[in-house]
């Protein structure tokens, strides 16, 4: 299994290939489309992270010390970023998740999608992933 840092590097390389925002966003959209559907039974109020506009459902479970995430969103762009986060964090150890530095999001030029005050729930999503990791760590 790759480390979070290794995956970050990989993602950065992926994004480096794009020549313009269109390619980047098309890639995100594709990621969103390809994200495996979350089990319908987890798409419940409790798992809902409410941004102002797009909704994100996040489920986490522990598997021999590692945390497995699954998620969904009603907006495809949000779902694309969610897919990136899952690629990065799902399957990692609780401790690594809790301490992960998710700076790559700035670096790939998606900072504006993550500002604390923006209309999506992404920042809450990252916070929630870390909280799950801490909670499920034993």
């Amino acid at each position: 299994m790759q480390t979070i840092e290794e995956i970050q590097e990989e993602i950065l390389e992926d994004f480096d290939m794009f020549e313009d925002w269109i390619q980047k966003y098309e890639y995100l959209i594709d990621l969103g489309k390809d994200l495996p559907a979350i089990d319908e039974k987890y798409k419940i109020e409790e798992n809902l992270i409410k941004g102002c506009q797009s909704r994100v459902w996040l489920h986490a479970e522990e598997n021999s010390g590692n945390i497995i995430f699954s998620a969904d969103s009603d907006a495809i762009m949000t779902k694309g970023i969610v897919a990136l986060l899952i690629r990065l964090l799902s399957g990692q150890s609780a401790n690594d998740i809790a301490h992960a530095d998710l700076d790559f999001i700035n670096k790939i030029g998606l900072k504006e999608q993550l500002s604390a005050t923006r209309a999506n729930g992404l920042l809450s999503m990252i916070k929630q992933m870390k909280l799950y990791a801490i909670a499920l760590d034993k």
Binding site: I22, D74, A75, I76
Partner: protein
């Protein structure tokens, strides 16, 4: 003749680029862009005239006070109110409505009724919910038809002797519906109810005359009228403003303060506690003058033309559904594209320099009514152009293509 280029020159921000493209600003329903003259008046006030208003005996204080009061008079004329002291300065429409809703708590008895509608902005819902919670009054809702008009018949059947207040928006910020408020006011008055109109979306688009409308209270915000942020107006008929108890306590709103007995100042000061947004109020005058000088005929002609053109073009895109198709409609187009979340459209349009708003537009009950998470909303202002609509339509097509 109306030359939109000349108008655009008066709004400096319209020259800027966003994400490498010329800014196309269609989020006017949220807040309009600002006139150079408004910006200059603010600067000039701070550079030449600044001082606290009222009470001061020195020159600057007198100057600031005179200018501050000039705006009040200009607004009186702009909205055809009878008395200058019927114009109360607030922070915005939300503040105006809360002022009234808070005061009504003590005018209402348990079981009294307040009527609002299904298409109200949260600012014209939540204050009444709070008012009802405190006073024991009951909130009644006029339902919405599929085309975004209110059900007038239903309104009539809600009216009764228990109705003490009807609070409606003049124009829906989500659907563009222009409500037939004169009709609503007449019907409400017949049974002795008071009427408050939320004119946040109306005041820069259609001509207002308080005396003709015979409306009891009317509110709007300067920032949606090419004016500064942090300034709003509550118009109220003298008698109702005298009935409503003071909202905030503090400087300026009192006649005499002692620990035994405090007496309140008369209108408008009774409702203007504390140091107001002096620079904002003074600059608001420049915005009102711009609108008055253009005239509402010109404004309506240009904005209606844009509305019709944009509607026609956007409907050519497959899968587009417009919410709000009332007969009388203001320059607001709320739409969705089948299978696409409005948020995604908003993000991609922004990348192409086009600013629209997406989401529930602070009107969640409308979204519930239509069972949608939100809409993408184009809202027009006097400085928008046909060319901007073309750019917007092209961008929507491109976004749709990317998202499908």
């Amino acid at each position: 003749m109306f030359e939109v280029d000349k108008i655009r020159e008066r709004f400096p921000i319209l020259k800027r680029e966003v994400n490498g493209r010329d800014l196309v600003y269609f989020d006017n329903g949220a807040s309009t862009q600002k006139l150079q003259s408004v910006i200059d008046t603010v600067s000039n006030y701070y550079k030449e005239e600044n001082s606290n208003v009222h009470r001061g005996v020195h020159f600057l204080s007198g100057l600031a006070t005179d200018k501050f009061e000039e705006t009040r008079e200009v607004i009186r004329e702009f909205i055809g109110a009878e008395h200058t002291h019927e114009i109360i300065f607030t922070k915005g429409t939300t503040d105006s409505i809360n002022l009234v809703a808070s005061g009504f708590r003590s005018l209402l008895n348990k079981g009294d009724e307040i009527i609002i509608s299904e298409l109200e902005h949260h600012s014209n819902i939540v204050p009444w919910q709070m008012c009802c919670e405190y006073s024991g009054a009951v909130l009644k809702i006029i339902p919405l038809k599929d085309n975004g008009e209110l059900e007038v018949n239903k309104f009539e059947s809600l009216l009764s002797k228990k109705t003490k207040l009807v609070a409606l928006s003049h124009i829906s910020n989500s659907l563009g519906t222009i409500n037939p408020i004169k009709e609503f006011i007449e019907k409400a008055h017949k049974i002795g109810a008071r009427v408050l109109i939320d004119g946040a979306q109306a005041a820069s688009h259609i001509s207002l005359n308080m005396q003709e409308l015979d409306v009891d209270m009317y509110c709007f915000s300067a920032h949606k009228m090419y004016g500064p942020t942090g300034v709003g107006v509550l118009y109220g008929k003298e008698d109702i403003l005298n009935e409503i108890p003071p909202y905030q306590g503090g400087g300026e709103m009192i006649k005499d303060v002692s620990f035994k007995k405090t007496t309140y100042a008369c209108l408008p000061h009774k409702f203007e506690a504390g140091t107001p947004n002096i620079a904002g109020v003074i600059a608001f005058k420049s915005a009102i003058e711009f609108i008055s000088d253009l005239g509402f005929n010109t404004i309506a002609e240009h904005e209606n033309y844009l509305l019709e053109y944009a509607t026609q073009e956007i409907l050519k895109i497959e899968g587009v559904k417009i919410y709000g198709t009332s007969e009388k409609k203001s320059g607001i187009i709320s739409f969705n594209i089948e299978g696409i979340h409005p948020y995604d459209i908003g993000v991609l349009l922004d990348k192409m320099g086009v600013a629209i708003r997406t989401g529930h537009h602070c009107t969640q009950p409308i979204m519930e009514r239509f069972n949608i998470p939100g809409t993408a909303r184009i809202s027009l202002a006097i400085y928008n152009t046909k060319e901007e609509i073309d750019v917007c339509i092209e961008s929507i097509k491109k976004a749709k293509q990317m998202l499908s």
